[in-house]
């Protein structure tokens, strides 16, 4: 899915050597816990979980971070790239300090999800997929979050907030620094 953003992957770390050493060490320390869930002859299966962990540590999946994950799993770099770009929860471009994702699928929009998304775009002065100038919030429209009975629903940094009202959204976003 498209990320419409001016900031680009070219500006980030391109090689493993460009990544901060301490963060690489944290990633390496986290890896055994992830790998032990898979049979010894299928360690590449850890790709999704390893990319997730890398994103948590480095903030986004720069080319350097993708290379690191591929290297540690003994997989070709193209495998990491392919997976990183296929799934919408991976950020292959830099994002703001917080990511706010609004469900605009049918059940949510029947409960105000579409209006909420339009209001937030205006309020934050960004379009879908863009980051506020101060780097505080990246706003995205997302698909059904499996919580349609408590519409409208948003994710803030991957945590779900349900049964929202304009007031509660204001409160939640206000708490993001």
């Amino acid at each position: 899915m498209a990320h419409h953003d001016e900031s680009s992957a070219d500006s980030g770390p391109q090689a493993i050597a460009d990544l901060p050493r301490d963060k690489v060490a944290r990633f390496d320390a986290a890896l055994p816990e992830i790998l032990k869930r898979y049979p010894p002859d299928h360690q590449e299966a850890a790709m999704l979980a390893a990319l997730r962990r890398a994103q948590e540590i480095f903030g986004w999946l720069s080319p350097g971070a993708q290379k690191l994950v591929a290297d540690r799993l003994g997989a070709p770099v193209t495998r990491a790239e392919e997976v990183a770009t296929f799934y919408v929860m991976y950020h292959t471009r830099p994002v703001g300090r917080h990511v706010v994702e609004v469900c605009t699928n049918v059940s949510c929009s029947l409960g105000g999800g579409y209006d909420l998304f339009e209001d937030l775009k205006k309020k934050l002065g960004v379009d879908n997929g863009e980051t506020t100038k101060d780097g505080r919030i990246t706003l995205r429209q997302v698909e059904c979050l499996g919580s349609c009975g408590t519409a409208p629903v948003i994710l803030v940094d991957e945590e779900m907030h349900e049964s929202l009202t304009p007031q509660s959204v204001e409160r939640i976003l206000g708490a993001l620094l």
Binding site: M1, L48, G149
Partner: protein, 443 residues
């Protein structure tokens, strides 16, 4: 009709921990199962008429018998992807009673001689993934799973949680296996079916969360008792998630043959606006839409088929007469266009095309030629693709245009949507005001 509750009886406030589950009689079915010949467990599940709750409604017992006799290892994948728009039931099993699922998994693995199981949960369910992790840790610590299943049998079972990362297609069983293998979610050609060639090329059973959560009850009470709760060839109760313009949205556990109109008008209290129901999507966004005057039907999969639709994943979306059907359908079409994996040409090209035409009609720029095209396109996709996402994208388009054709024509002739700013209906955002913010996720 019986009021027996199987899946929700401990929701939502009872203690989801192992201690809480055991205090309410949990893990007794596993103990019972471990004393039975595995084939007898499969027979019990066959007799229960349990059918898959993930959407397709395939007989669970029958699926289990497809495993080739002498190929090992075999794997179990539990589908907690729950991404079909309108569906929100499995998440509550994971949150409120995860041990019921784990007990179901343990019994299933014992019955099928499986020693490794993966619960594949959509990436957006962070809280639910944590609940499952905690539950599995407890089960390991108590020796219920791990080197000795149920604490005694000479049977090893490992259960792991695998988190997705945002892709509807990974709910499709073969894409799910690709994703568990750490790849992008490209569905595989079938046959061979997963029971023959599945995860890492080995025989694999894939079942939905709700499907397997029923197994402990079936073992405890018998297949026949489960079958008797349902209707026709579908045993048991089902979780129906009702959303949209109803007064009391939420998850309702009802006998499999429950009446759709009763569910909406009585259990959910009708529309929040008090206006008539215009349209109901009865089983997730890919099921063909029903008009408000067509909803007096049983939700049992075979029965609702005669009404030209399906109860699929149990996700019921209700729209009152203030909602624009072109707006709603265009949004559904956008979903499939965004989620197509792009492997097959009819799906990769057809889904965005349908979406673009529908947006054009909604904007008032459509022509009668566009309408003819939108009536023709679904037929070019259906049956022409690797996986069922193609059909899933085509069915809503076909049914909305057929049942609400006048609205599409009105948009074309009137050069726009008469609803303007309120295309999503008058109730949007106003439910709090109407019911005082007293919403519960679960009934």
């Amino acid at each position: 009709m019986s009021d027996t509750l199987i899946l929700t009886k401990r929701w939502p406030k009872n203690d989801p921990s192992l201690a809480g589950y055991k205090a309410d009689g949990g893990y007794r079915s596993l103990e019972k199962a471990l004393g039975m010949p595995p084939a007898a467990i499969v027979d019990e599940v066959k007799a229960s008429n349990l059918r898959g709750r993930g959407g397709a409604g395939f007989s669970t017992g029958l699926k289990w018998t497809f495993l080739p006799k002498d190929v090992r290892p075999r794997y179990l994948c539990i589908n907690a992807d729950e991404s079909e728009p309108g569906t929100f039931k499995d998440r509550y099993i994971c949150e409120y009673d995860p041990h019921m699922l784990v007990e179901g998994i343990a019994i299933t693995c014992f019955a099928l001689d499986i020693h490794l199981a993966y619960i594949y949960i959509r990436g957006e369910f962070a809280k639910q993934a944590r609940a499952l992790e905690t539950c599995i840790e407890e089960a390991y610590a108590a020796g219920l799973i791990g080197p000795k299943l149920g604490g005694k049998a000479d049977f090893k079972l490992d259960v792991h949680v695998v988190r997705g990362a945002g892709a509807y297609i990974c709910g499709e069983e073969s894409a799910l296996m690709e994703s568990v293998e750490g790849k992008k979610g490209y569905p595989r050609f079938k046959p061979p079916f997963p029971a023959i060639v599945g995860l890492w090329g080995k025989p694999t059973i894939i079942n939905n969360v709700e499907t397997l959560a029923n197994i402990p009850w079936i073992l405890e009470n018998g297949g026949a008792a489960f079958a008797a709760l349902g209707a026709g060839k579908t045993g048991g109760t089902r979780l129906f998630g009702v959303s949209g313009n109803v007064k009391r949205p939420g998850v309702y556990e009802k006998p499999a043959g429950y009446n759709l109109k009763k569910l909406i008008m009585e259990d959910c209290g009708g529309t929040v606006s008090g206006r008539p129901v215009k349209a109901v999507i009865p089983g997730g966004s890919s099921s063909p839409v029903l008009r408000g005057d067509e909803i007096d039907v049983s939700l049992e999969p075979d029965a609702i088929k005669s009404a030209g639709t399906m109860s699929g994943s149990g996700g019921v979306i209700v729209m009152d007469d203030s909602v624009c059907m072109v707006r709603a359908l265009a949004r559904i079409a956008m979903f499939y266009a965004e989620e197509s994996c792009g492997q097959c040409t009819p799906c990769r090209q057809g889904t965005p095309w349908m979406w673009k035409i529908l947006e054009k009609i909604e904007r008032g720029e459509g022509t009668m030629k566009d309408l003819a095209l939108i009536e023709q396109l679904p037929g070019n996709i259906m049956g022409q693709t690797i996986c069922a996402l193609g059909d899933a994208a085509a069915m809503p388009v076909q049914s909305f245009v057929k049942k609400f054709r006048n609205e599409f024509v009105e948009h074309i002739e009137g050069h726009g949507c008469k609803h303007g700013e309120t295309a999503w209906g008058v109730s949007r955002g106003s439910r709090e005001a109407l019911v005082g913010g007293n919403r519960q996720p679960v009934r």
